[in-house]
Symmetry: D2
Amino acid sequence: MTAPTAILQVICPDRPALVSELSGWVAANGGNIRHADHHTDAGAGLFLSRIEWQLEGFGLPREAIAPAVSALAERLGGEGQVHFSDATPRVAIFVSKQHHCLVDLLWRTRSGELPMAVPLVISNHPDLEPVARDFGATYVHLPVSATTKAEVEQEQLRLLAEHNIELVVLAKYMQVLSPGFLERYCGSGSHQVINIHHSFLPAFKGAQPYHRAWERGVKLIGATAHYVTEELDGGPIIEQATVHVSHRDEVDDLIRKGRDCERLALARALRLHLRRQVMVYRGRTAVFD
Amino acid sequence: MTAPTAILQVICPDRPALVSELSGWVAANGGNIRHADHHTDAGAGLFLSRIEWQLEGFGLPREAIAPAVSALAERLGGEGQVHFSDATPRVAIFVSKQHHCLVDLLWRTRSGELPMAVPLVISNHPDLEPVARDFGATYVHLPVSATTKAEVEQEQLRLLAEHNIELVVLAKYMQVLSPGFLERYCGSGSHQVINIHHSFLPAFKGAQPYHRAWERGVKLIGATAHYVTEELDGGPIIEQATVHVSHRDEVDDLIRKGRDCERLALARALRLHLRRQVMVYRGRTAVFD
Amino acid sequence: MTAPTAILQVICPDRPALVSELSGWVAANGGNIRHADHHTDAGAGLFLSRIEWQLEGFGLPREAIAPAVSALAERLGGEGQVHFSDATPRVAIFVSKQHHCLVDLLWRTRSGELPMAVPLVISNHPDLEPVARDFGATYVHLPVSATTKAEVEQEQLRLLAEHNIELVVLAKYMQVLSPGFLERYCGSGSHQVINIHHSFLPAFKGAQPYHRAWERGVKLIGATAHYVTEELDGGPIIEQATVHVSHRDEVDDLIRKGRDCERLALARALRLHLRRQVMVYRGRTAVFD
Amino acid sequence: MTAPTAILQVICPDRPALVSELSGWVAANGGNIRHADHHTDAGAGLFLSRIEWQLEGFGLPREAIAPAVSALAERLGGEGQVHFSDATPRVAIFVSKQHHCLVDLLWRTRSGELPMAVPLVISNHPDLEPVARDFGATYVHLPVSATTKAEVEQEQLRLLAEHNIELVVLAKYMQVLSPGFLERYCGSGSHQVINIHHSFLPAFKGAQPYHRAWERGVKLIGATAHYVTEELDGGPIIEQATVHVSHRDEVDDLIRKGRDCERLALARALRLHLRRQVMVYRGRTAVFD
């Protein structure tokens, strides 16, 4: 329906004329820019740019764009990448027993709100298999224990490779991925695992955030969607949401109210990521929305 | 403290290479872009651009920039204007008896949050004179009645001219300005009067919105900051805010809660306007924040 | 899991000692109150009370409670009703083609968040039949046209009676129910139809609210869950929600963002209704949450 | 304008018939209840009640009400207190250099939104003296250093006693009060010091929360109004607020946006406290609004 576009993301040291240089390159090849966003982090001396333009009528064939952008970014002393809006990234969703995020993501995918495909759902519990099946995804049940974790992660990695997965979404997976898994899967510096944490980070890192929020007597609870890094609940934040609670709310009410925060924050973060509106640098994100 | 910048705003028919052309012009003159935002209204076939760059080291003297931008915009078949971040627009605030917006704006001005000067406060009541005086503004009390309105507006226009006022803010003025006033003051198409309306427009246009909101039994109330046009409460919206209410809230509580919405929405809208982050076209705004 | 409770709702003319009289009646029968909320509408001279107490150990058998409460309310010159927390109201959901509210309600029902049963889904389109079937609901496809509307409504009424339905939820049904239907279904003064309207009422009543919101250039959009009355989009409001939009949002984006508002507002309103936390009087609601 | 009321607050072990007993006592003395709110903390086995009734026509003289409520609470094995709505608590505000909370509180007091008197403002800096003077408050400048802190606190305590202060509000005071001060001022268990902390507690306890929020790259910032206890930023929370931030916001922008959160959260918390809508138990609050 919508005409396909190319999206470049460039990070490089800040200096004058960068906007002109990048947009000039698009124009020189006959591209019609639909969105152009930039950010300068003055403290870090960095320039970030995201430019989206229509592919129709563009002077370079698709396969020549990425190399050209890389060369351009290299000339600027930085790094660049290109995505195409009509690509459909293959995404694996990791879950435990809770269905609300999984169901939400699958329905948003079906309705076209999330431009992705979900061929694979992995869980340490069997419960959500019917949901995955309804949406045509392979469901793999891999129970995890302290002793089997390393082995299970090997199998997870194998499945990700087999299904040609680009991005992993931890939709209330409730298990910590090992540094080894992350290194093997994400490689150096790339961000290919998104988690939803059920608190307003950095408050209540770790386990049972709703119980601890209740203990503390907070008046708002929240959820945080972030890229996963080796530091637990410490990765770059993409999106956060909060909702009011009162003294009348028991822990179960916090969990219930939190579910809506969780699925909204995760869905928004995922949409931003899939539309290539997120750029990560120095442990933080620039979100061009 | 912050290095001064120039800000251009251009609206023109959409076509390829506009971002490149505008940013290229800045770069060709040695300008270092700090913010560049664009918007394409596909339905209207219009392109809007706001580019902000550092004046230091720019190749053109200040007085030459506006003519150059106008010439550039003309070549593109559109219109352009330039502002400088270190200018301090002279603003008149119109009030009736309620102090909350006036006090808020004056304090935000003093603390540097609103880059403006307020030499003049005009009211149809004498009550707020001490507030204006505390902040060094001339306070002119001009009672308004149906028979004197035309005459009073003449005097208001005279005062605006005398104090060299660029922008009028209706901070709960509770009087409707005549089309004649607006035409004389704003000229053709420019937007130099901002109003705060105490409802979530277009709900509850006109008088006594809180009373009508209570009657209707709404669960949220709101406030709307907008440019004033000849159509009552129908001008381009800059900012809106809402707050929850309950059955326990009487009309007086709605008014009290609404005051916080009003001053927040007005202060945000005014800051956006003063930093030249708002562009108006076809009865609506693009807000580049 | 939770011990069952009785919930009384009484509306009567305001006078001293009403709280004491009602809570005294509960105590005299050995009831342990878990929640007691009251509201006085001073302008209307009305007192509203909702008291919830544990059934265990209560001195009256279940079938004797409703008559006793009615007698009590009558002595106070008002009206009363009783509900039991372990009842499971039978609810019919009316839909058109959009799935987001239906899916949301069915999942929340399955997870226990909405204490209801959904034996029946009625639609003027065939699209959502698989969804209803997955959740064990009978799906009846009844196309509606101007000429068949009266006949279709007769069939709808017959189905509601056949399935012993207590409450109808219009989950984006996109059809206006006739006064005749409402009178036949809701009887005099009772409120048994809940609708989700896709705007912040009273703004944008009627058709295509998102298109009109875009035209007006609002900066927030909203959704309103309300009881249906004969006045279109004019019934008592239960819950409202809003979300920010920007100039970058096309009509389709407003529709997409609005869906989250819609399903949240509807789910909250429905939960409040089902837990008997809503009382309706004089065209408005008191919501005891 | 509003008829004066009495407000009782009782905390006692939970058992049946407490609502009836308390409201029955009010009714037996001819009181007309305007608000009655209760809360049962099942885990703690505690019952909390707040009942507000009109003084006009009440059978006991004012001076007899507090003893009667104490006796009643004692019979229930708990504690009770009484306040009168037409009392005007004397409040001291502690500030450093930042004006936004002080100005906000003084204006809200003047307009009647906060039912209190502010005879005393204490600061470790001289800057805000003119503000206090404009509102008729005594301003005492007491510089604080590590070596003089104990001595300064003695003087602060003396001033609080001299001005007959009931409540201290730390409106961005930026100094930690010693346990000795708190013990001397608040006595055992009572809560007479309210602080506004510029983060969403428990995130970013302690110094420079906005700088640390920026470092972490959060997408929301917040403010927390809480009672002060010996545990730094660990006292019972009354109110919290959050606001969205983006990658474009520098630390200064976080501080600016945070100011609106701070003053709103503090003003709401203070109003709730002054209207005796807050009850504290076990390190947390029940807020009856």
